[in-house]
């Protein structure tokens, strides 16, 4: 079992409130990713779950039992640190055994667990080496191995891939996903990399300034971000935001005008808009195409990034920045004028407070 329930978790360091009323239910076997910009409180939240930080308020329950006062060691969790935190003076084997020896586990069982974890992570060949003699990727495996041998209720991973180079990060990410599938344990993973979040998570928890902005599956967050922050944070490159105003409302459709006077039609079935309302219109760069259809946006091209399989166009639309990612290779140069079409693109509408407009 590995169900973790957080109720109204608060954490303050002096006068600074780092976590503000965090509520979250994590199901057994779930892969949850905490994502958010630096300083949003995601690592602190992980550390409070681990028991390395005491909460200022609220309750943490693991499998239905309140653990606020339970020490880190007795919560049955294992943590993989960003720095790996391997003991540099011990061999890999000793590193793996260290935690197990604390509980006076019989030597035979310690050896068996190490062999099993080493086989799973393919680190058998360097069990007798010290961490200083291993590469970053190997150290990372040992750090995960140290968590695995404890057979914890849940794994807590604090930016475990951030010290690896880009290529290794991609392969290790896939291995982590495979490992989770194999172990079936609950995993809570902290990262500021939204690609890691999208590829690994069952559910993503987007945090900002000590609060949860949205919890949902990766595609939920991508398709229906709850607010402008989530919309901007999830998806790469970032979503475009244009200032707009409601011009007309008809059954099932709203007509919006942009600052430059362009008219955009949006499917809309709610009641929360009225004519004249100011809005922010969110458009993902991948949903913009190069076309000269009626109603297309006339832009000035500022920068073109030809990536081979796609072309990233940085453009200027009446003083507002617009980014488009179009498939294939386009012969277009900075300084030129171009027509970008958003016809058929899902448009995201956010009200003055940055919240998603209901019915859009």
């Amino acid at each position: 079992m590995g169900e973790i329930t957080l109720t109204k978790i608060k954490k303050s360091f002096g006068a600074v409130d780092v976590l503000k009323d965090i509520d979250l239910d994590i199901k057994d076997g779930e892969f949850i990713v905490f994502v958010g910009p630096s300083g949003c409180g995601k690592s602190t939240l992980l550390r409070t779950i681990a028991g390395l930080e005491k909460v200022t308020g609220g309750e943490i329950e693991i499998d239905g039992k309140r653990v606020n006062e339970v020490s880190a060691a007795d919560r049955g969790l294992a943590m993989v640190f960003q720095s790996y935190a391997l003991y540099p003076h011990m061999s890999v084997r000793q590193n793996l055994a260290f935690g197990l020896e604390n509980s006076n586990m019989p030597k035979a069982e310690v050896a068996e667990r190490i062999t099993e974890a080493a086989r799973m992570l393919e680190i058998e060949a360097y069990l007798e080496r010290r961490p200083g003699q291993l590469s970053g990727g190997q150290r990372q495996r040992v750090a995960i191995g140290r968590a695995i041998v404890r057979r914890p209720t849940a794994f807590l991973l604090d930016e475990p891939l951030s010290n690896l180079d880009a290529e290794l990060r991609v392969s290790t990410r896939a291995e982590l996903a495979a490992l989770h599938a194999r172990l079936g344990s609950t995993m809570i993973y902290v990262t500021h990399d939204q690609v890691e979040a999208m590829t690994l998570a069952h559910r993503i928890v987007v945090m900002r300034a000590g609060k949860i902005e949205q919890v949902g599956t990766p595609l939920d967050l991508y398709n229906t971000p709850a607010n402008r922050f989530v919309a901007g944070f999830i998806g790469a490159p970032h979503m475009n935001f244009l200032a707009g105003e409601v011009a007309e409302l008809e059954t099932g459709t709203a007509t919006l005008t942009t600052a430059g006077g362009h008219r955009l039609l949006v499917p809309f079935s709610g009641h929360s808009l009225s004519v004249g309302d100011k809005l922010t219109i969110g458009i993902r760069p991948q949903h913009i195409t190069l076309a000269n259809d009626p109603g297309s946006l006339k832009v000035k091209v500022r920068l073109v990034e030809a990536l081979g399989s796609e072309t990233v166009i940085h453009a200027d639309l009446n003083g507002e920045k617009l980014l488009a990612v179009v498939p294939g290779q386009k012969l277009i140069s900075p300084g030129e004028e171009a027509h970008l079409s958003v016809a058929g693109a899902p448009l995201h509408l956010f009200d003055r407070n940055g919240l998603r407009v209901k019915g859009s």
């Binding site: 681990a50 390395l52 060691a73 969790l77 640190f81 720095s83």
Partner: protein
């Protein structure tokens, strides 16, 4: 714009004497380089330093060695007669090597014995006290910087001041007896009791020097990543095991440096003890350096040759200790590179 040009002008004005000096030096140095070649310039630049080292370190060492081969009370080497290894022989003439009193130069062996016990006890206690202090100062104490300064402060004092402060505290009408008297305890003559004086010299020298060793150990403790302790906490490691299996092994390089430095410093003990006890009562706190000083300069029957021989022997001990330190340093450096 005008301010920039003003600062520029000010800058070039300040640099003018430097440029002038460089131009003046340039002429003879070019000539020297022509004569010595590029490779020889290293020797030219090293020469002033080597000259100072030669005059103030190497030369006295040689002179000292020559002195140890001569006899008489005269100070000028030209007035001294060559006696070969006689001074060394004198130092080592004993009927029973386990009893200093049976030796011809009993004071030397008493001083050696005293120094040996002083070094063993002082270094052991020093390491223990410094380590405990460093561990405490490494915690989240209130006014931590203040406490660090408090423990380091005695290091800044001159040894003579240290000796005088503690004499003022420990003498018959000193601060300690005054304090004890307030609690109805009879004053005691701390500085005339053989055992207490020995303990006092150990205590005072620890007080005077522990700040430096505490600082070295504290730096070592702070270099241990916090993550390691958190990982151990997640594993439910008991504090005693954390100290034994994580703190101590990771502090080992610093500890070894501290041990060797403390050893060398303890063998050389002199000034604060000389001011505090003068080596007494009797010869109970007579240490090797004081023996050398008194034999060579202070006693009425001064014997510079004998003092030189004793200091050569002490120098050998220090060389051995320094070699150990170098070895330790290289080993920990290699470990760090791995």
């Amino acid at each position: 714009m005008s301010t920039t040009s003003l600062t520029d002008r000010l800058g070039s004005l300040l640099m003018a004497p430097v440029h002038l000096l460089m131009r003046i030096i340039d002429i003879p140095l070019r000539a020297v380089q022509k004569a010595a070649g590029i490779g020889g310039m290293a020797a030219v630049f090293l020469a002033p330093n080597m000259l100072i080292f030669g005059i103030f370190v190497l030369l006295p060492l040689v002179i000292n060695f020559v002195y140890s081969m001569t006899g008489g009370t005269a100070f000028f080497i030209s007035e001294r007669n060559f006696v070969g290894a006689e001074q060394y022989q004198r130092l080592f003439t004993c009927t029973n090597y386990l009893d200093p009193m049976s030796c011809q130069e009993d004071a030397f062996w008493t001083a050696v014995g005293n120094t040996f016990w002083f070094v063993v006890l002082q270094v052991t206690l020093m390491i223990g006290v410094s380590l405990i202090t460093a561990l405490i100062l490494n915690r989240d104490l209130a006014a931590r910087s203040f406490w660090r300064a408090v423990f380091f402060f005695p290091v800044l004092l001159s040894p003579v001041v240290v000796g005088l402060i503690w004499k003022w505290i420990l003498q018959r009408q000193g601060l300690l007896n005054f304090g004890l008297y307030q609690f109805g305890i009879e004053p005691y003559t701390w500085l005339t009791d053989r055992n207490w004086t020995f303990i006092a010299t150990i205590g005072v020298s620890i007080w005077a020097h522990m700040g430096l060793y505490t600082l070295i150990l504290l730096a070592g403790l702070q270099a241990i990543p916090k993550d390691l302790y958190e990982a151990a906490e997640m594993d439910g490691t008991k504090p005693e095991r954390v100290f034994r299996r994580i703190t101590l092994p990771l502090l080992a390089p610093n500890l070894l440096v501290v041990v060797v430095l403390a050893l060398i410093k303890a063998v050389q003990i002199f000034d604060e003890v000389y001011v505090l006890t003068g080596g007494g009562p009797g010869t109970s706190t007579l240490y090797l350096t004081q023996y050398i000083y008194e034999t060579g300069f202070a006693s009425t029957l001064r014997n510079p040759g004998l003092a030189a021989a004793a200091s050569i022997l002490m120098g050998l001990v220090l060389v051995v200790l320094t070699l150990i330190q170098l070895g330790v340093g290289q080993r920990s450096e290699k470990k760090g590179k791995r």
